[in-house]
């Protein structure tokens, strides 16, 4: 492991000021489940580590009118245990259950998962389906960005050098909303997704009033399958062959790579079935 300077900050302001000072030459330490591993493997070139674990402003899950605010330091275990989220935003709870192992879920944070910007980040697909908004703060003040504008590529985001993700803002679920998250891994736990899909549906009078589909691990970032969404929106009858044909369109929207977990060809082919499997859990597909 290389040597580095370690700073433990008490509040957001201190963290932002230090960030400004070090610019690119710093990394934030939240849960550490990713950073510590990379430090040990000498993959971190930055010389300053800012430990933000003690910043109160980044903690807690709160109900704010029809929104839920999740602090970026909230761990996956906290999400899984949260009554607010179980009631008003169950998709993020389901996805959090699939993150790593109990030890990783106890330490790993949602903010870390987002800012790492891995296309395989398990918490990200549901946030796409929720149209999540990110509250960011820097020396220039705060701003709110839509999730769709946040990711720029694997490991890349729009975050400025002195900017911190403070919280994630979600809209509370309504009664006629349903969702499903499925993650395909080489094994059933402690695994990085080969591919994942997440669907949120709003139904009224038996038809799909609205639908959001997101896919993980099949493109440089998590993506929304808007083409498929558009075809499905308004659908009333759910015939198997037709739905599979629609799901096939997802191929046009993804651009996966080949790695040790799976080939590009497999990811392309299996994505349509992952979307189909999720739809099958949400709709009464016949024939």
């Amino acid at each position: 492991m290389r040597e580095f300077e370690y700073y433990k900050v008490k509040n957001l302001k201190e963290a932002i000021n230090l960030s400004k000072k070090f610019g690119k030459n710093k990394r934030f330490l939240a849960g550490g489940t990713d950073l510590i591993v990379r430090l040990k493997d000498n993959l971190i070139k930055e010389e300053n580590i800012i430990d933000i674990k003690n910043i109160e402003e980044l903690k807690g899950i709160k109900e704010v009118e029809d929104e839920i605010h999740i602090g970026s330091l909230v761990t996956f275990s906290e999400i899984i245990e949260s009554d607010i989220l179980k009631k008003y935003s169950p998709l993020i709870v389901e996805a959090s259950k699939k993150v790593g192992s109990p030890q990783i879920r106890n330490k790993g944070t949602i903010g870390g998962n987002i800012c790492n910007a891995s296309p395989a980040g398990d918490s990200i697909p549901p946030l796409f389906c929720e149209d999540a908004k990110f509250f960011l703060e820097s020396t220039n003040g705060s701003r709110i960005v839509n999730i769709e504008d946040f990711f720029k590529g694997p490991g890349k985001t729009i975050l400025k050098e002195d900017e911190i993700l403070v919280k994630i803002i979600l809209k509370k679920w309504k009664e006629n909303e349903f969702g499903f998250f499925n993650k395909l891994g080489q094994r059933n736990a402690l695994t990085i997704a080969i591919a994942s899909s997440c669907i949120k549906i709003k139904k009224s009078d038996g038809k799909i009033e609205d639908i959001k589909i997101s896919l993980g691990s099949v493109s440089p970032t998590v993506i929304r399958a808007k083409k498929v969404e558009n075809i499905l929106r308004g659908l009333k009858e759910y015939k198997k062959d037709e739905i599979i044909k629609i799901c096939d369109e997802v191929k046009e929207e993804i651009d996966p790579i080949t790695d040790v977990r799976g080939s590009r060809e497999y990811r392309i082919e299996v994505s349509k079935y992952l979307v189909f499997e999720a739809l099958n859990n949400l709709l009464n597909i016949r024939g």
């Binding site: 192992s101 736990a189 299996v270 992952l274």
Partner: protein, 712 residues
Amino acid sequence: MIKKIDISKALKLNGVVAVLTYNDIPGLNGFGIAIQDQPVLCYDKVRYIGDAVALVACETKELLDKAIDLIEVEYEPLPVVEDPLKALEKDSPKVHENGNIHLHTKIDKGDIEKGFKEADLIIENEYRTGRQEHAYLETESGFAFYDEDEDLLTIFCGGQYPFRDQIQIARVLAIDPRKIRIIDEPMGGGFGGKDEITTQIHLALLAYHTKRLVKMEIERDESIVFSWKKHPMILRYKTGVKKDGTLTSNEIYIYADTGAYASLGGPIVNLAVEHSCGPYRVPNTHIEGFCIYTNNGVSGAFRGFGVNQVTFAMESQMDEIAEKLNMDPVLLRRKNILKKGDETGIGSKIETSIGLKKILDEIEKHPLYKDREKNKIDSSEYKKYGVGIAISYQGTGLGVGLPDYGACWIEMRRDGGFNVYSGSVEIGQQMKTTLKLIALEALKISDEDKVFIITGDTSITPDCGTTTASGATYRSRRAIEIASKKMIDILKKEVNEIFNIPTDEIKIEDGIFKNLNDEKITTYEDLAEILYDKRRLPKTEGHFNFPTSKTKIPGAFGLPHYIFSFSGAIALVEVNILTGKTNLIKAVNLIDGGRVINKIGFEGQSEGGIVMGMGYALMEDVIIKNGEFLVKNFSTYLIPTSMDSPYQIETIPIESFEELGPYGSKGIGETTMVPIAPAITNAIFNATGKRIKQTPATPERVFFALHKLPEK
């Protein structure tokens, strides 16, 4: 190819104690159990990415990285030999000067042409198996020091055979092996991966040169790269069978990728050849085994020792035959299983106990198999359930012509207890518990504190052969039995002398000597005091040669084996046909290990065997491309977690009494794992109608067996 090694800069770094290269090796620069073809430190060529070029000792661990960075090695790249089949071609680059074939075994039995003429059905397939990592609990590590006054080099390091390590080190250091003491306990796991040298020689070299205490610890991502793996094999099978299910012939070609160095690759290929026809009567065979050098890491001993691969192939063949003949898979196997006196696929007679019929009886009546069609009804549209079976056998012990023996020393202590010294080592398989149970029974006492088991130290224990080949318990148990019997005889004689009672009228019950009227004469404790006063506390020795076959197989060193353990497995799988992801839901292991002595140990071996076999079947594979490891640690090399393990595991002991074994028992360490993979892939076929011919059956492989890749 190494052009130049420059260590001068590293030596100048403050805190570097020693940097050693091949120039610093006093004796033979080579090691290997069978042949010493692997350099301790490379001098002319690096044959795989885990080869060692220099050894560095530093005052602190942190300095090591810096020192290693300062060593300059100039290489000239050589072509990489990657594909074992291409390595066989005449114009292939050579990994070793003598060519890429380390061993080629060829066996003919009967008349293969006649056999195929008699057949009504011929099944031909090619199978491929993955490169499995042992994934033992602890990586290879140890420490060593040299005592100049005593001229004694002591090495603490987990290993499976301390006496062979001693000799391998002595050859390299060119010193008397008696000047080396190896203590190789405790260990968390071996599975064959620590049968060969790991860090022992490097530790010895550094301690000998520096005269200081040296510690060496291999990190996991280094361990996976440098250490031995289960041989990936390409297996070509052509099997002939009559309409009634009688096997007539088997033509088999086995191509094993042994990587850069031989280690035990030769014996492993021979074991694969020996077991390639499964536990069946096949009158006409032509079997060829090739052990092939490549630049793909190194392969070596691993639980199953070549039998996993051929069992996967043969049991897949049997499953396909049953399907094509529309015959019950158990019935097909019943028609062909070996009976006492039958010849195996390589033409050697089996004269020891065989539990196969009982295993098939148990499979047939087990609800998981009997009601397998009912289980399928529970399948949902996109999740298919299926049941598969497989049976297998495994020769225990090392085979003909190889030194294979057990030894034990027992001494009575002043407190009436016993010290029992055995050369077998605890490698996580409950060896010490088992030895203690055997010694307690043999020495006729029940107080656990009265028997102290001492193992794994070349200075104080006898040489007991290697703890491998499912035979360690067997070897040491027999030796303990013999030494214990001698001890009991001596004790009775002493009682006879002191109390004047004829020895045949003395019996022992739980450490108490009694006469024929059940009256107490004396106890171990009291007798020990008397004997101590006379300075003649007894010591005994037990020696035992592992039974081997009287006949040899020409051209196949070590074959055949004499005693075999048998096993069978039933697997219930769930296949997600949308994604190809397969889960093992229930598993039953039926094991003929003779009489069971340590029940918890027996079940532990079985359950571990199932999960390890399941990892082999479904996910485990060290992927190497162009000599580079794409999988280096447990984040990418995946082994089953508790969330993957079947929620129901059942172990059924099939106790065929083996007259030669201690208390009628046989070794089971390997056979518990062997039938699992084919049982799982046969279950996938039962669920989906698609046969998986390459392990591991990853989601991707199963998916593309179910869904055709669209044409471009």
